[in-house]
């Protein structure tokens, strides 16, 4: 299973763009990259998923370079409500050939006024 490395924490101010990078050097050919957001005392919530290049949805963008050994979650113009822990997940495929969601350590984002 691919191991992910993220910064432990990041600080930002309202209105700024925040980029959180995740390293996954041993990502497998068929692995996707998925990001989840978690607020205190709540279950994680899906943000975005991609395989290569760039993916954009209504809340975030995901940039994946050609070698796929890292990925960057981009949050445009963050607000106080974006203060949360962000998890990068890769390596869904287990030895059985089936998937399981395994979380890395996550990045705690603190947005200041």
């Amino acid at each position: 299973l691919a191991k992910t490395t993220q910064p432990i924490s990041m600080d930002s101010y309202e209105g700024q763009e925040v980029n959180i990078t995740c390293s996954h050097n041993n990502i497998a050919t068929n692995d996707y990259i998925t990001w989840y957001q978690q607020f205190p005392s709540q279950g994680p919530r899906f943000i975005i998923q991609g395989y290569k290049t760039k993916v954009t949805n209504e809340v975030a963008s995901l940039f994946i370079p050609a070698d796929r050994k890292s990925s960057t979650l981009s949050l445009p113009r963050v607000s106080l409500s974006d203060t949360a822990v962000y998890y990068c997940l890769v390596g869904f495929h287990m030895d059985t050939g089936r998937r399981a969601l395994t979380f890395g350590s996550g990045t705690r984002l603190q947005v200041q006024p």
């Binding site: 068929n30 996707y32 998925t34 005392s41 709540q42 279950g43 994680p44 919530r45 899906f46 998923q49 998890y87 869904f92 287990m94 059985t96 089936r98 998937r99 399981a100 969601l101 395994t102 979380f103 890395g104 350590s105 996550g106």
Partner: protein, 115 residues
């Protein structure tokens, strides 16, 4: 509308007294997961069901068991809770039928306190 429902939200149990946490889903997803999350830590996968197939993580203690009587329901049984088992327990579901992973939906979690 809640799609993954965990009951209860808060559970207090005595040291060594068996406890069961429940999870139900309205999404008809074939995969259900149980995670343990301790304070300031990432969720840790305990086991998951792929349809009726049970998959246990190698480091999940024997004290933890699970049942999935049908597609909609999944239970986490802790046979003899210890103080170290106090945590948030999260249930999640996903539909896994092809090569592309799909979004997983998480419940609100059950916070277990062991006294």
């Amino acid at each position: 509308d809640a799609m993954v429902i965990q009951n209860p939200r808060y559970q207090v149990t005595q040291f060594g007294k068996p406890v069961t946490l429940s999870c139900s889903q309205t999404l008809n997803h074939n995969v259900m997961y149980w995670y343990q999350q301790k304070s300031s830590q990432a969720p840790k996968l305990l086991f998951h069901y792929y349809d009726k197939d049970f998959n246990n993580e190698a480091d999940t203690p024997d004290n933890f068991q699970s049942r999935r009587p049908n597609t909609s329901f999944c239970f986490l049984d802790i046979r003899s809770p210890g103080l170290g088992d106090a945590a948030m327990y999260l249930c999640a579901t996903s539909r896994d039928e092809g090569p592309t992973p799909t979004e997983a939906f998480f419940g609100q979690g059950t916070r277990l306190t062991v006294v």
